[in-house]
Symmetry: C2
Subunit: 361 residues, 2 copies
């Protein structure tokens, strides 16, 4: 078991990484003293797999629990779903000391975090990410969000969880495609600040895909540490430090939105977004050929897409211009100078963006 | 013109109180550098009265503006309305540097503040309260909220505005009942910590009701100062300091909810809530007879109700038990020991609460 501390003064919290640790949930909640009644937001499949363990662990410490499931789809991250969950939570909450548990992947984590952030102006919540993608990225750092039909993550809050429990044994339930999606974010961390992690992924892909517990613990804790460090220095993305975490996400979100969240999952879209960022970086003379080849190669080896198939260029460009990362009408990209070296560049010409997307279609 | 500073570190802001000062809005926005495009949330009546002044003042400083109106009703403070406004805002926002202006009373301020708090995880907003109630209370302190069908203000965030402009000349457009509603909150401030303010209201009721500019500036700035002081010491109501501001609001919210927001407006419900708090305080031996008589007398003289007519006792009790101020299933009331002296008491027996409401029916 490993522990990473995310330091944010009074709002600091632990990220616990280990195997079989959801059985300890009740004890953690007890020590944190965050409530007597858990409102667990999940999806039907995950609930069927892990509800019993969760409920038992909580009950052992005198904590009651209620599950609320939403469909396993990006569509569940809508304002409408959030409103429905909030009404259900309010009906459950009558005279209780309630806290939220997010049990699921990125969609559940973002939705549940948002619900916790706005219910009664904020109640405590715990993240129990069940996908690699959520364990290494979305469950950490307090970015909660739901989508509007016009764009992803347009509604949300910065609202930190009280604890993140990353139980890597849960990742055995993922299919290969879901695991690969998480690897896209792991590769992202390697590129932005951890050459050793990138090498590790290159060397141990097979063991990771076989869900080796030690390998998973290593990559999850390594990514958690990077993310915790960045978030503790720039929680609300005001200093530009946190922005590097958006590598691959600007074009990635546009690709996701343009495809209606169907053709590519988030990790796949991020992988493609990283490659678009490579293309822009090359056009601006920032990246060496060898670095770009190495990045494309590890993405390909990880079984992630390197081509945007099935979506028209103009659709991606249109979605791109609705991205909330536009500051005052100016675009802003995280670009790559080398493994472990990024640069944030704003106001890139439409032609360069267009060409860099086009060469991937 | 008077200025009150609300100190909250990086999130500090000014509350400007004066007559005719909405004409200076553009200059303020320019100096704060919060954006180039104002999204003004208001209601049709207020828009028809003040839109021209607002638009002109902004345009003079090169700032574009768009108005979005919602119905003038507590019903506009719903999750559904908020979702609709957010979609409209997202459609308007395309490639702009947008900020929100709340132009209206408490409903508009709470709704607009909530919209600003969750859009893109928070964009800047300005409060321009147009009622006495909003100027002395709801526009200050960053409590934003919308209602669920099961209870008032169940959804929201603590999210501070960048500026509050309290233009007392706008209060000339209020009818007597609306002005009186604001006086309920002014009386509340007097009771919780300003005996001089309470005496001032007792002595100058006529001048206030005639909208004397100097009188209004005095009471608005006095209340703003009290509220700013409390909020700066306990922004998120974690230390119990901010709780005193809820005097009259626990029973008040229950009365409002039970009446379906029809029979009594917020100020009237708060006045009745203060009288219920007096009754509980008497039953617990906290308040002197003379103090209670004085409070009832100033409420009556201000033209506010002292009887809860038209709602059944049980309906109020039921609504009371859904109030979000319950902590872990325990109720909590701000009680009165004297003018300027309050005490927070939890876990009051249902019988005492019931008797104190009943004697007001």
């Amino acid at each position: 078991m490993r522990k990473v501390r995310l330091n944010l003064g009074k709002r600091s919290y632990d990220i616990i990484i280990g195997s079989g640790i959801i059985a300890k949930l009740g004890g953690y909640v007890r020590r944190l003293d965050i409530g007597t009644d858990a409102y667990v937001i999940s999806n039907p499949l995950i609930k069927s797999k892990f509800a019993k363990k969760i409920t038992e662990s909580l009950a052992k410490h005198g904590i009651r629990s209620k599950f609320k499931t939403v469909a396993d789809s990006e569509k569940s991250k809508s304002v409408e779903t959030a409103a429905g969950v909030l009404k259900d939570l309010a009906a459950y909450d009558l005279r209780k000391r309630v806290f939220v548990v997010a049990l699921g992947g990125g969609v559940i984590g973002d939705l549940a975090g948002f619900v916790a952030s706005v219910y009664k102006r904020g109640i405590p919540y715990i993240q129990i990410p069940t996908t690699l993608l959520a364990q290494v990225d979305s469950a950490i750092g307090g970015k909660t969000a739901v989508d509007l039909s016009t764009g992803k993550n347009l509604i949300g809050a910065f609202y930190q969880p009280r604890l993140v429990i990353s139980d890597v044994s849960l990742l055995k339930s993922l299919n290969a495609r879901q695991l690969r999606a998480g690897l896209a974010e792991v590769i992202k961390y390697g590129i932005i600040e951890d050459p050793e992690l990138l090498s590790y992924v290159e060397r141990n892909l097979l063991a990771i895909m076989k869900r080796g517990i030690a390998d998973l613990e290593y990559i999850v804790s390594r990514c958690s540490k990077i993310k915790a460090g960045i978030v503790s220095r720039d929680e609300r993305e005001e200093l530009g430090l946190r922005t590097v975490l958006n590598l691959g996400h600007t074009a990635g979100h546009a690709i996701e939105t343009a495809s209606g969240y169907r053709l590519f999952n988030h990790g796949e879209a991020v992988a493609l977004g990283i490659l678009v960022a490579c293309g822009i970086s090359r056009r601006l003379g920032l990246i060496a050929d060898g670095t770009e080849r190495r990045i494309e190669s590890v993405i390909k080896e990880a079984g992630l897409p390197i081509r945007i198939k099935g979506i028209g260029l103009q659709k991606i460009i249109d979605a791109h211009y609705r991205d909330k990362k536009f500051l005052g009408g100016k675009n802003r990209f995280v670009l790559i100078k080398g493994v472990g070296k990024t640069q944030i560049v704003g106001n890139i010409s439409l032609k360069i963006i267009r060409d860099s997307i086009k060469e991937r279609i």
